[in-house]
């Protein structure tokens, strides 16, 4: 019985150790790899540092979309109060439209332009990313049913 208890204790200790290691890995992983969601107003308020990746959400400003020679595009993201210029080298999702919601992943460069690495597609015409809705509400530009 004693040997059995001893083995159980060793087993429990091993389990705790494994659990601690996994928890450590998770916490470390989260610390290094979470991305914040920011609205253009957040960006204007210096809440982001250049080079730090984050997700920018808002509306694509009407008339702001310009194509370059190759696949690069340039547009502006707005929440009605502030506007952030964005560069993207890639193919825009099919549902990307001026005047509609967008979420892009990337970071600010030194000159105040957002360099997007990924522009997220919405799945549906009526759909507005909840983060964007909240950003618009915060800036007071959201009207219920205006979509």
């Amino acid at each position: 019985m004693n040997a059995r208890k001893q083995r159980r204790l060793a087993f429990a200790a091993a389990l705790v150790a494994v659990g601690a290691i996994v928890a450590g890995v998770i916490i470390y992983g989260l610390g290094e790899n979470t991305m914040y969601f920011r609205s253009p107003t957040d960006v204007a308020g210096n809440m982001v540092h250049p080079g730090v990746a984050f997700r920018l959400g808002g509306l694509v400003e009407k008339g702001s979309l310009h194509h370059g020679e190759g696949a690069e595009v340039r547009f502006r993201v707005t929440d009605g109060r502030s506007t952030v210029p964005a560069d993207f080298n890639g193919v825009l999702p099919a549902l990307f439209r001026e005047g509609q919601g967008v979420i892009a992943t990337g970071s600010m460069n030194g000159s105040g332009t957002f360099v997007a690495t990924e522009v997220l597609a919405k799945h549906d015409e009526k759909y507005m990313p909840p983060e964007v809705v909240q950003a618009l509400k915060k800036s007071g530009r959201w009207q219920e049913g205006s979509q």
Partner: protein
């Protein structure tokens, strides 16, 4: 008329599920034979009435009965018939009805097969009845698919075009067969605790095994289908994005895989008794949580049909009751179970233990990564997202370590194994691993150490599976199940490595007549024509693969506009050799007939899904052996022979 019929059938089903749960739980006591009979018949009745309701809704979709709100808001006369039918589960109400249909199918199977004896079956039916009742209440009060719309509109709104796809038509039924299949092992585990006799604590594992296998196979196929769909529809060339919705299906799969392994030990030697019970509870709990995540609208994706707070709240309460109830039962009854048989540190049991430790740890990483952003948002409104790098840092190394250990399991005997002998018999697999690494380093450009390492592991897995198959030559087919499933892991690993390490990508704007190159391919762009589909119009690009100035293959990626919703969809074109995919997505229209084009060459991409299929085949072999062998004791399997020889 059919709408009311369906509604009525649902009400009957609810009544039957309540009868089934009461009678089933009452029938646990030895002498209550009549109650058990009632539970069994109500399980069949439940299935019949839910099937009737489901049939009524399907009929409504087929004949486009727009007086049913659910049909009007999710279907359209222009849709092809297949998508009218798949539209039944392409919306919240219908998909919940499908969920209950699958639940009732499993209940009927539990009742019909009577595995594990009358009392265990009865208790399992009781629990299954409670689950069915909860979900039927949910449907009737918050998500009734038969609500009427007056006046009926002339035309329906149509199905989200992204869902109008053969792969996705099959994805939800598959995934649900998996999610809900775990309810059967959950019910059996709860039943074992309720019956509470030591003999039953191993019997449940054997009784629930076919259900675990079916659930696991269906989950494997369902996840593979979902990832295949994401690959060829979403147009970003990836196969897995660590999206909360994908994670929601991965977590039950990880736990189901752990359960398959630990229940094997419980069944064979009585080891991990309480642990297997806990895993069975956790597996279905994660299915429920997955459903909640996906359906509640907490995640923004194609799966979040409608975000209605009452629904989210209802499911949350349901989850709390199911998980809380099961865990309370576990805490109450599990201490009375006797400990399992002892095993040596070097034994099959130890490898299964390690398997479980790694799988559960991997699942914990996914769980935290998925829920942390939601918890943070709910508590202080901070919006963050956890991306692929997190999973590469946490999940990937844990899973990789697991893969390294996989070959040892089948080589070790139960209770006491010989590590040295196992290691020696694995030398050929080690040789294959080394050859794979060297060949990859020498031949494939660009040179990648990570790629070579991953191929070595794949070689190690596949080599060990071949050795295992050779060792068991002449045994019955189900003896090869594990080898096949493990080889499938190796195949998928090769596919994942090929596409992530050696993918080449081209992003260009081309004018008609121009050529572009991607990887080894040269493509000529012939321009775009406007074509008309059944319910969409499309810009269809024409690309020709040029081989030394000669045109070989035509590829036609499309950009579709679905009329009912006014929604744009990219329809990719994929040319596959079986070992390499050339992937084309037509981007936005630039002036002068020029188009942005995204092209990928993904080496070995098809292996990702082939591997999943091989894994599922392994499960099928094991299932076949199980069902053919009604009494598992009659002919001991190979490990048992080894055990007896000791």
């Amino acid at each position: 008329m059919t709408g009311e019929l369906g509604q009525l059938a649902l009400c009957f089903a609810l009544a039957l599920s309540l009868v089934m749960s009461v009678a089933g739980l009452f029938g646990i006591k030895e002498d209550r034979v009549a109650a058990r009979g009632v539970a069994v018949s109500s399980a069949f009745g439940l299935f019949v009435f839910v099937a009737l309701a489901f049939g009524a809704l399907t009929y409504g979709f087929i004949v486009s009965d727009f007086s049913i709100l659910d049909v009007a808001s999710n279907s359209n006369t222009l849709k092809p018939l297949v998508y009218k039918i798949s539209g039944v589960w392409g919306n919240h109400e219908g998909s919940m009805l499908l969920w209950v249909l699958v639940l009732s199918i499993y209940a009927a199977l539990v009742a019909g097969l009577q595995r594990g004896g009358a009392r265990l079956t009865s208790a399992a039916l009781g629990v299954q009845g409670l689950l069915a009742a909860a979900f039927l209440l949910f449907i009737l009060f918050t998500s009734n698919p038969f609500l009427r719309l007056d006046p009926a509109p002339f035309e329906g709104a149509g199905l989200n075009p992204l869902l109008q796809d053969p792969g996705l038509a099959m994805h939800p039924p598959m995934l649900y067969a998996g999610y809900v299949g775990l309810s059967a092992s959950f019910s059996y585990a709860a039943a074992a605790l309720l019956v509470g006799e030591p003999a039953q604590t191993n019997a449940w594992a054997r009784a629930a095994r076919p259900f675990m296998l079916v659930a696991w196979m269906a989950l494997t196929c369902g996840i593979a289908l979902g990832s295949w769909w994401a690959y060829y529809v979403l147009g970003w060339g990836g196969f897995w994005g660590w999206d909360p919705v994908e994670n929601a299906s991965l977590m039950p799969w990880l736990v189901a895989t752990a359960l398959l392994h630990s229940a094997l030990a419980t069944e064979k030697s009585g080891a991990f008794r309480t642990w297997s019970l806990l895993l069975a509870i956790a597996g279905f709990s994660l299915s429920l949580i997955g459903t909640f995540l996906v359906r509640s609208g907490l995640t923004s994706s194609v799966h979040a049909f409608a975000s209605d707070p009452t629904r989210g709240f209802f499911i949350l309460v349901l989850i709390a009751l199911a998980i809380g109830g099961a865990l309370a039962l576990f805490a109450w009854r599990a201490p009375t179970l006797q400990g399992g048989t002892a095993f040596q540190p070097v034994s099959r049991e130890t490898t299964l233990l390690l398997n479980n430790v790694f799988l559960v740890a991997a699942c914990a990483c996914v769980f935290v990564g998925t829920l942390y952003p939601m918890v943070l948002d709910a508590t202080n409104g901070t919006k963050i997202s956890v991306g692929p790098p997190y999973y590469m840092l946490t999940f990937a190394p844990i899973f990789f370590a697991l893969l390294l250990l996989v070959p040892f399991g089948p080589q070790l005997n139960w209770r006491r194994g010989d590590l040295k002998a196992a290691w020696q018999s694995l030398y050929p697999a080690l040789g294959l691993a080394a050859i794979a690494a060297v060949v990859v380093l020498a031949v494939v450009t660009p040179r990648s150490l990570a790629g070579a390492g991953a191929f070595a592991v794949a070689g190690w897995l596949i080599g060990a599976s071949i050795l295992d198959i050779r060792k068991r030559r002449g045994a019955r087919a189900s003896a090869f199940a594990a080898a096949l499933a493990h080889a499938g892991l190796g195949i998928t690993l090769m596919g994942v490595t090929g596409t992530t390490v050696w993918r080449s990508e081209a992003l260009t704007v081309v004018a008609p007549g121009q050529t572009m190159t991607v990887g080894p391919y040269t493509l000529r762009f012939d321009g775009v024509t406007r074509v008309k589909g059944p319910n969409y119009i499309a810009d269809r690009g024409r690309f020709v693969i040029m081989d030394g100035g000669k045109a070989t293959t035509v590829m036609q990626p499309e950009h579709r506009l679905y009329l009912a919703q006014g929604q744009d969809i990219t329809d990719t074109a994929i040319h596959t050799t079986g070992f390499r995919d050339l992937y084309l997505a037509l981007g936005d229209d630039r002036d002068g007939g020029r188009f942005a084009v995204r092209a990928y060459v993904s080496p070995l991409a098809p292996l990702i899904w082939l591997g999943a299929l091989v894994m599922a085949l392994g499960g099928a072999l094991s299932l076949w052996g199980r069902l053919r062998l009604s009494e598992p004791e009659t002919k001991p399997a190979t490990p048992a022979v080894a055990l007896a020889a000791e």
